[in-house]
Subunit: 326 residues, 2 copies
């Protein structure tokens, strides 16, 4: 079913303020969840909201906490997230990076001890909406085996790169796993093969059988050995730039996925001069003969957003009922 | 056959100075080619040297040219490569990025109108050897179809991320194609299947048949739609940050792969504090049960380097004879 964006957001706010969270914070959190559903990222919108509420109730996320500065040098800063809501910490860090980029051309902010940011694309968008190139990445709990290995030791460490563009930003929002586990469960439930191989079965054969991958826990990073290396390197960067916990520490501590490390970079650019360069690149990419429509990263999301604002935001009925009863 | 590193480098210098290139420039270029062969990257070492000499003779690479500054603001700079040797321009730019990072914590240098840098890892190493995190990427001529498309419109735009590490840097040096064309030709010649699918055949089926991929020109980016998006975004960044030519312009101009655009980023970091964090991450990654040895990015290269310095650098005999006759 579809419901108006404002109704969805108001419902999130009702639940949050019911936990004695002040209106400003509740509004900011509600906006992120509502925006994610609006843009079609249901896994980190409505569908994730009950888990987020659980984390608050369990004392894993401190809704009133704010980040504190640990270190600063020139255009780079380190912050402690103090386990505040991940989306508010992330928004804060990208704002800092933009401010540093405004002064220095580029800014880099690393944060430790923060929480899940839900959709990384949110903060890429934030930079691009402000006219800046935005780059960010996070580490996660281990959920992918390294190349050669059979047990999860790497995070799917999403990498976001956003470029401001008139008529709709280009936003790459890419986890290092070929498929999210949410997607694997979905294919498993529907008993449908994956469009491309997504991992190995318990016997070590590459497979499009989602159930077999869920069983083996051997989901595939993009590009096999390449994504494995990229995931490791992103975790190294997030950990050493923030001085925070690595995928290894987060996983081995046995805790839930909290206290992660993240990096936010903003770069100043000349959007007026860029406009024609960007359109030329996109037009050329789309000029290929094609089997299916060629889209730039973020283009499909722009269409979903438009539809959501016109016809209402699609929600899973059962989850919607659940949230209304929170 | 194997030959001593110094002999290989001296041979490159002999050829270069024979073209009236001064000793300093010839030495710097020879070092890059010899280092690449030493580290096992033959495609951009000895094997590429004859083509590089051709490019100089054809007036596509100007050995005496030097980069000139176009723009600077805080910690970011734009340079014009003036079609100087790509490896010298790249070394220069990473040096500038390091210097900016020394002053500002982070530095970003973009260059237009430059030439092929050979092995991107060289410049990641350079930053890491100086104690800085190094990130760089380049655009290229179109050689990959975008996701959904059947004709090449994207470059394989290598991305390099290097992290200083006692006992051997971590260096991810990753083209966005699953396999380089050089690798496809090698499997084709040996009539062996690729270890994992590397592209599509002319009928649009995913295949491990290198010959079929060479025929269809439908090599695969890492992670299917994900690598396609990443390649596009790296080209957008390289183009707008440098104000230079995009993959679209380079390809449509009909020229050889010259006048490309590149970005170099260096970040200051506390290597003493990092040491234990890095080892913990690597140890955890390697602690997975495994089918084959788990390596960190750059680890295999370190072994090849050690062997080359001990036993001599492996060279393809025919190419070695060819270079001796240049």
């Amino acid at each position: 079913m579809r419901i108006p964006y404002q109704q969805l957001k108001a419902e999130f706010e009702r639940v949050l303020t019911g936990l004695n969270i002040n209106n400003n914070i509740a509004g900011a959190i509600a906006t992120v969840f509502a925006d994610n559903s609006r843009d079609g990222v249901h896994s980190h919108g409505l569908n994730r909201f009950p888990t987020f509420i659980e984390y608050i109730k369990e004392g894993l996320v401190f809704p009133d906490a704010v980040p504190t500065k640990v270190n600063a040098f020139g255009a780079i800063e380190q912050w402690n997230g103090n386990l505040a809501p991940g989306m508010l910490n992330a928004r804060f860090c990208m704002d800092r990076a933009i401010s540093l980029a405004n002064d220095n051309g580029i800014g880099c902010v690393a944060i430790k001890n923060t929480n899940h940011w839900m959709r990384g694309g949110t903060y890429g968008q934030q930079a691009a909406d402000a006219g800046y190139i935005g780059l960010c990445f996070t580490n996660t709990i281990a959920n992918l085996p390294p190349w050669g290995g059979t047990e999860p030791r790497l995070g799917n460490n999403p990498l976001i790169i956003a470029i401001p563009r008139e008529g709709g930003n280009v936003v790459l929002d890419m986890a290092i796993s070929q498929y999210a586990f949410g997607k694997l469960w979905q294919y498993e439930a529907q008993n449908k093969p994956l469009p491309v191989p997504g991992g190995y079965d318990t016997e070590g054969n590459l497979t499009t059988d989602a159930a077999a991958i869920v069983e083996s826990k051997r989901a595939l990073p993009i590009g096999f050995w390449k994504g494995s290396g990229l995931s490791l390197v992103l975790d190294l960067l997030a950990t050493i730039l923030s001085g925070g916990d690595s995928t290894a520490v987060i996983t081995q501590s046995g805790r839930k996925e909290t206290g992660v490390s993240q990096v936010f970079i903003a770069i100043k650019t000349d959007n007026e001069r860029n406009a024609s360069l960007i359109e030329q690149i996109i037009d050329y990419t789309k000029s290929s003969e094609s089997d299916t429509e060629i889209l730039f990263p973020g283009e499909n999301m722009l269409r979903t957003r438009e539809q959501s604002l016109k016809e209402g935001v699609w929600v899973d009925e059962m989850t919607w009922e659940k949230v209304k009863n929170l």
